[in-house]
Amino acid sequence: MWIVRWSVTLCALLLMGCANSDALVPPASSEPAPAVAANAEGVTMPHTADLAQTILGAWIKQSADACAEQYADTIQFEENGLFSASGGAIVFWDAGHYAIRAQNAVMISNAYDAEIVYTVTVVADILTFTDESGCTFSYQRM
């Protein structure tokens, strides 16, 4: 009898769980998950899947800082993980592959095949990179 009561109770709980999962799992946030996350500076950054979409297309360099001189004047990211870049007196980015590593990080292969990870932010049509040396440079969507 005790076993039957326990089983009925368990089944009831399970049924309640199916109807309302909140009863059996930690309560979710009362607000829906944001489409983007905010970093410490309050700059909105797209999630990894969004960054993979946002980064697609052609970009033209805006920065004129000396540290950014080695980066190509234009870069274009394709959906298949390939990119092409051109322009500038220094060849550092020319053609290769890229991969989104995190919601704010992208790996880009360089002209001698090193794979380098850059921190990125996208605000409106401005794509900003920060490289390993701390150089920050921006591109505008073409």
Partner: protein, 723 residues
């Protein structure tokens, strides 16, 4: 085949028999002539007749003996007149390709003497001759510290000659070791004459000497060139590995290192060195670890005596997936760039598309792509960048894999050669660009001189291209405007381009900056028209004006200085290519103040400024913004006023032509060429019926004034008068 009898009565051979209707096998005929030319010709011998065995011809044909240059490397020696203490040795690479010849060279300084001090009591200095490279030793490897010049050959014997000499024309580009850049120092020529070769040359019939003259015609030295090798360059590839890695020796389908480099005329010696390198910190290597291992384990060599590239095969790489040229810059521990590369044998190819036939395999067991990566990385060590023009060696593995198809899956779609442009670079870029330990990796190809590709074009005597700058002096940031006129003074009508507009496709050219760097320009837009050629009567001409701002390499006039503009008009008639060229100069002055500098920078740094100049679209916001920046600056405004006015005078979507705004832009100081005046007149004519009369009158007055200074046609003048 029978031999024609010699007429013994007067010592002269009979005339050749009538040529039959047999079809001449041209390639075979060329090959036969080439074979004849490899025979030695005694010095001082008059051109002799020879018996030419032409396939399909009977009897044989008597023809005079020809001379030609042989494909390969010539030992080059230049002795300047100005000094006997030093001279220059180097190599000239002569590439023969059918009827065409492309050549380039490098020169290294050589001290002609060694000075020995004789001690007390016979105090003095003994001067001992210091011989140059021994031609019997083949391609010389000379010290990097002595590298001085790139020889950019602009004129050379193309095919064959009946003469004993030909004119060699070349530019000397001086190398600045401190900045690792070249600059044009002089343009020279020499009449090179075949003569007896000194001892040691493998082909005594291929030795020439000549006096070198500079652009003013003064003799500046003596040049000799003697053939020493069928290859252009020679190098050693040393391959070392950890025990678990495979050695990339071939493609798995019969293509090996020498096969690949035979195609670019490099002699390579592949040396297998260490096969059990110690792994310093686990299976994955950093760039620094590979570099340290190279220095510790590489065969003892001097890069001043040998071009040696080092390839290390390890299980995994820290900084990349498959391969890396770990020695790109001179910032590594020995400050010597482009000595080595590394590849990974234990990367596992993802088991998915687009990896085709090798998906899921360990990289070292995928023989074809593994070997390809090794060749690719050494291509970087030789100064090459990625090249996606085809599936050749310098394209990336991902790109090639992505272009595989069901019929030709990766790696069967690998192209087992360097792209034609990369082949040219490996043959003709300067030594310091390609040799290990030379110039650091990373400068754009446009910063290096390279001999032009040869093209056979015909020239019509009497056809001349004349160029005239609208302004011979322009401020930085301004476009260069010039008028081009093709004149026929040949005495008879000649077929030629119906238009010299850039849009016609017949005109292209290049701009040479003060440092000798060339930047090319071509039409941005081509208008396809069936009636592209017409007859130009004797005494008649075709004219058009062009506005030059940017080209394939960016801004054409990026800094102050004296520029040379070379314009080529090319067309084809009955399958024969014709070309007429001319050149002119323009002086670009520096920024007059900060405002001018900023406006110029906006123009020079905005690629779309060219689109705005050519296409005039309202949607070209970037380019239009740069134009506005130029308009707001009093120095540049006259050079861009017409460009903006042209945009305003045209309908753009819902926007109607605005002649009133255009009239406010065009002033007496506005700079226009004849074609722009004609175009403006047409636009005003098209929009005048709906525009304010005052605007039309102001534009007419401006265009009348422009017509007097630009030399427009009578038709244009009538059009302006009728506005």
């Amino acid at each position: 085949m029978s031999t024609p009898e010699v007429n013994g009565s007067n010592g002269f051979p009979p005339l050749p028999p009538t040529i039959s209707n047999s079809v001449i096998d041209a390639p075979a005929a060329v090959a036969e002539v080439e074979n004849m030319l490899m025979r030695q010709v005694p010095m001082g011998a008059q051109p002799q007749t020879d018996i030419l065995h032409l396939p399909g011809f009977d009897p044989d044909v008597l023809i005079p003996r020809f001379r030609a240059l042989s494909h390969g490397c010539y030992l080059l020696h230049f002795q300047p007149t100005a000094s006997s203490f030093f001279s220059y040795y180097g190599t000239m690479r002569v590439e023969r390709n059918g009827f065409n010849t492309t050549a380039s060279g490098d020169l290294y300084q050589h001290n002609n003497f060694t000075f020995i001090f004789r001690p007390f009591p016979n105090f003095g200095i003994i001067r001992v001759p210091n011989p140059g490279p021994n031609p019997a030793n083949g391609i010389p490897i000379l010290s990097r510290s002595q590298y001085r010049y790139y020889v950019r050959v602009t004129q050379i014997l193309e095919f064959i000659t009946l003469s004993n000499s030909f004119t060699l024309g070349y530019e000397l580009h001086k190398y600045d070791a401190a900045t690792a850049t070249w600059s044009l120092e002089s343009t020279n020529s020499a009449v090179m004459q075949w003569t007896t070769a000194p001892a040691g040359y493998p082909l005594s019939s291929q030795y020439l000497e000549g006096d070198v003259k500079d652009a003013s015609g003064a003799v500046v030295g003596k040049l000799s060139m003697g053939w020493i090798s069928k290859y252009f360059r020679k190098a050693t590839i040393e391959i070392a590995k950890v025990s678990a890695s495979e050695t990339p020796l071939n493609s798995g389908s019969g293509i090996d290192w020498q096969d690949i480099f035979d195609a670019v005329s490099w002699e390579v010696d592949v040396k297998l060195s260490d096969t059990s390198l110690s792994e310093p910190s686990g299976i994955s290597w950093s760039d620094a670890e590979m570099h340290a291992s190279m220095l510790a384990n590489r065969d003892a060599i001097s890069l001043d005596k040998e071009w040696r590239y080092y390839l290390i095969c390890v299980r995994r790489l820290d900084s990349t997936t498959r391969g890396i040229m770990f020695d790109a810059f001179a910032t590594d521990s020995n400050n010597v760039p482009r000595e080595g590369a590394g590849i990974s044998s234990h990367w596992v190819i993802p088991n998915e598309n687009p990896w085709g036939l090798v998906k899921g395999q360990r990289f070292g067991t995928a023989t074809a792509p593994y070997f390809r990566t090794a060749v690719h990385e050494l291509g970087h060590a030789m100064g090459l960048y990625h090249n996606t023009a085809d599936n050749g060696f310098m394209n990336t593995t991902e790109t090639i894999a992505n272009t595989g198809t069901a019929a030709t899956p990766f790696p069967n779609n690998i192209l087992w050669n360097y792209n034609s442009e990369d082949q040219r670079r490996l043959r003709h870029l300067p030594d310091m660009w390609v040799r290990p330990g030379g110039k650091a990796f990373g400068s754009a190809f446009t910063t290096a001189p390279i001999s032009p590709l040869d093209e056979i074009t015909a020239h019509v005597d009497g056809m001349e291209l004349k160029l005239e700058m609208v302004n011979r002096v322009i401020p930085i940031g301004a476009p260069a405007r010039l008028n081009a006129t093709l004149v026929n003074n040949s005495g008879m009508p000649q077929p030629g381009p119906s238009s010299l507009s850039l849009k016609s496709g017949f005109v292209s050219g290049k701009v040479i900056d003060p440092a000798g760097m060339e930047r090319t320009f071509k039409p941005l837009v081509l208008c396809m028209d069936e009636d592209v050629l017409d007859l130009i009567d004797d005494g008649d001409s075709r004219s058009h004006a062009m506005t030059l701002l940017r080209g394939a390499q960016g801004a054409l006039f990026p800094s102050p200085g004296l520029y040379t503009i070379v314009v080529d008009a090319k067309w084809e008639t009955e399958g024969i290519p014709y070309k007429v060229s001319s050149q002119t100069q323009v002086m670009v002055t520096g920024a007059q103040d900060e405002a001018h500098a900023n406006a110029a920078m906006d123009i020079l740094c905005t690629p779309d400024a060219l689109l705005s100049l050519v296409l005039n679209g309202d949607h070209l916001t970037e380019g239009n913004a740069a134009i506005q920046s130029a308009l707001s600056n009093p120095v540049l405004r006259p050079h861009y006023a017409y460009i903006e006015a042209k945009r305003l005078m045209q309908r753009q979507g819902d926007r109607k032509p605005d002649l009133k705004a255009a009239a406010q832009l065009l002033e007496e100081e506005t700079i226009m060429n004849a074609s722009e005046v004609k175009k403006a007149a047409k636009l005003v004519q098209a929009a005048s019926d709906k525009a304010p009369k005052t605007a039309v009158q102001k534009l007419q007055k401006c265009l009348k004034q422009q017509a007097t200074v630009t030399g427009v046609s009578d038709e244009t003048k009538e059009m302006i008068a009728a506005l």
